[in-house]
């Protein structure tokens, strides 16, 4: 494996730079990782982080929305952005000769003009996006379950918001939100692939050095879940969905690796406990486990979808696995490690894959793990470590959510 090192720097205004140059790569990626998302919104602002993410493509002081669109096209950038409860990320991959131009464009986009006409037009697109997700049962269940599970804690805030909340967002509210959250100390600029670190650093200073300083902060109060049972109904649905949730590690807990392996052992798409008990036997058409890490809190989930006739059977299997998280062998653990390591290496071969791993690691933990270090961390997890992690989080207060066809 070529020895690749992760480099870091900080601009005077607090913007953190991170990069992993790899000259063998045929492309390069850049991303702005902003530590702001649904959890940082006031109730009347619900959906504003995501709406603002869209507005970053809608014009700056020196570029119109169309200029941005056409320039991204001309550079052949495969660009995108996403908003979660925790962060908002703007990223793209380019062929190396356009790296510098793309960095200039993306940096400019992060200072949006928020033109009123564009704002009004984009609001319509967001309302269409809300309608689109209403038709996706899996999304519908998770959105509602997270809200109810977190019971008012900001970690359960909706990313999209509602038709009412988004309709009520004004340009002025967005300007204020932007000023409050898009401060350089709350942002990481990350690059990976075939690019020059020194020039990247100098350009970052030129392009972002004048961004005004400030502290964004975040409420990271912990959360203690209680046990909830809730059923949602949706008209015309053909499948039933079941979701179990309990407390899991947060982004900064060391038990993250143990829990990641536990979710592979429990719910991976091949060879996991859920696979053998639900998919192989054909009683569910989908099943999985996940640990959803947030700042200050986190949860561990088990999920399955099935036809109405098997709903009780499927729920029973999920509950049984929830009650016996440690029922696995050393071989199960070793297979989970092999799968996870193989996936991490493959994803790391793509600059965009590496970009996401690096940016997110640094955003929450200020650690620059090389691929090799991450792999060592995974290899080191023992059965005892998973047992200790499970004991620490208890895994005994489960909530259960169902989404069923309306009768």
């Amino acid at each position: 494996m070529t020895e690749i090192t992760v480099k870091t720097d900080v601009l005077e205004n607090g913007l953190r730079l991170l990069g992993e140059p790899n000259p063998a790569s045929k492309s390069a990626s850049i991303g702005f990782f902003v530590k702001t998302g649904a959890r940082d919104e006031d109730p009347q602002e619900s959906g504003i982080s995501h709406f603002l993410e869209h507005m970053m493509f809608k014009g700056t002081e020196k570029r119109s929305a169309m200029d941005i669109t056409l320039e991204l096209g001309t550079l052949g950038v495969q660009a995108n952005a996403y908003t979660s409860e925790e962060s908002t990320v703007f990223y793209g991959a380019v062929i190396p000769e356009y790296f510098q131009k793309f960095q200039e464009l993306l940096s400019d986009m992060l200072r949006p003009a928020l033109v009123q006409e564009e704002f009004d037009m984009e609001k319509k697109v967001i309302l269409e996006e809300i309608a689109l997700y209403q038709d996706r049962p899996h999304f519908y269940l998770f959105e509602n379950a997270l809200r109810d599970y977190y019971g008012g804690h900001p970690a359960g805030n909706s990313v999209l918001g509602t038709v009412e909340s988004v309709s009520g967002i004004t340009r002025e509210m967005m300007v204020n939100y932007f000023k409050r959250r898009y401060l350089p100390s709350n942002i990481i600029l990350c690059a990976s692939g075939n690019f020059d670190w020194q020039r990247f650093k100098e350009d970052s200073q030129k392009l972002c050095g004048s961004w005004e300083k400030g502290q964004a902060g975040r409420d990271v109060t912990g959360f203690k879940p209680s046990s909830i049972q809730k059923v949602y109904y949706k008209e015309g649905l053909s499948r039933c969905h079941v979701l179990l949730m309990t407390a899991g590690p947060s982004v900064s807990d060391d038990e993250r690796y143990a829990f990641t392996l536990l979710s592979v052992i429990t719910g991976d798409s091949s060879g996991s406990r859920l696979y053998w008990q639900l998919i192989d036997s054909g009683i569910a058409d989908g099943a999985g486990a996940d640990n959803d890490e947030r700042e200050g809190t986190g949860c561990f989930m088990l999920y399955a979808s099935t036809g109405g006739e098997n709903l009780d059977k499927v729920s029973e299997v999920l509950r049984k696995i929830a009650a016996t998280p440690l029922e696995f062998s050393e071989d199960d653990l070793n297979r989970a490690k092999a799968k996870l390591i193989s996936r991490i290496v493959k994803s790391g071969e793509l600059p965009l894959g590496r970009l996401m791993a690096l940016g997110n690691e640094w955003l929450y933990r200020q650690k620059k793990h090389s691929l090799k270090e991450t792999i060592e961390r995974i290899k080191a997890v023992s059965q005892r470590d998973i047992q200790a992690a499970v004991e620490k989080f208890g895994l005994n207060t489960w909530s259960e959510f169902r989404l069923l066809p309306e009768e």
């Binding site: 493509f57 669109t69 660009a79 037009m121 008209e235 390591i341 493959k346």
Partner: protein
Amino acid sequence: MAIIEKLANDLVVIVEEIDHLESVAYNLFLRGGVVNDPEERVGASLVLAELIGRGAGELDSRALSDAFDARGISHQEASSLNRYVLRCSLLSDYLSDALELTAKMVKQPRLPQEELASIKSLLIQDIEALKDNPSRRALVELAKLYFPVPFNRPVIGELEGINATSLKDIVALKEQCFLPGGAVLSVAGKVKASRVIKEAGKVFTGWSGEGPGIPDFKGFPKPQAYHIDSNSAQLQIALIYPSAKFGDHDYYAAKVLNGILSGGMFGRLFIEVREKKGLCYSIYSRHGSTAEYGTVTVYAGTTPERAQETLDTIIEVLTGIKGTISDEELERAKANIVSALVIGEESTGARAASNASDWWTSGRVRTLDEIKEKIFNVTIEDINRHLEAYSPLNCSILTLGSRRLELPVDNKGE
């Protein structure tokens, strides 16, 4: 540059060496697929593709699964419309093991009777779940109505066909399709071609015969409007019309035209429908092609009140393109296609799949440089000529949702 070798049993092996990566991926394409299923058994190939993962040679279902997992080999066995595809991606140290497991699955699958019911249940649930996914459903339903028999068969199979499939059907299908003649194994990643060819020769030995051909393609119907009533928040709109097929002289013109219509965020459809009017969130067009046919599919999902305006705008964009393409627009589309190609092909999985498809469709493998050159050579005149031959006015439409839409009056077809 790919190295191609035909083994003694006619299995074609393609290898692309990529030294700076750690992983390797391969695709094995075998003849058959849903178009080749017996008439009353549409979906039998899907059952077969699942069943070969449930044990092979001396390994039972669990031992086979564990053998892949213990080496971190991710694998997938599937049946598509016109082929079986077995994919693996892994760290290069385990290539010999992976090939051996794949060869076992195609040469000596156990095809256990006791797993049949659970596999059928999974596939039937997948068909039922389609009702909960309106955008996917719209495209499946459109293909059913638009394509000629048997190319209109749903790639997820049919309820009756899957239910009726017996183990005897599966065994017969396996005997007919899982053969080296016409099959291709495409490997890409940190490997040496000579070693791969030697390994493949070893594990695929004692295997001979030729898989079935593809049925005749009878051509597309006249433009029609289809509607399926459904209760959902959005109305799904899907349009389809014939286009250049793989290997046609205007194939690359069709690709660049699609870039102009739907590339990145600058495509005309995205700009006119979403950016200027805010009519929907999701809108795109795709140019799909095989050796037999080519099509353009346009998709949009929008709330019912705005659906007619969305459709009208889409039709305006499609019919307004001929004679209005600017040089800048052309160059932008080309740059975008090429960069997506370069960036997308950085993964070993993507390289293995592209090489396999190229061979499958045309009997040769294009280099990235060749594709780039062909794309860059496309002129506005080429695209205009292509539009003469394949007018978007010949489109058929499917709407799925609570409202039927009016097609513009000049959509009469030929």
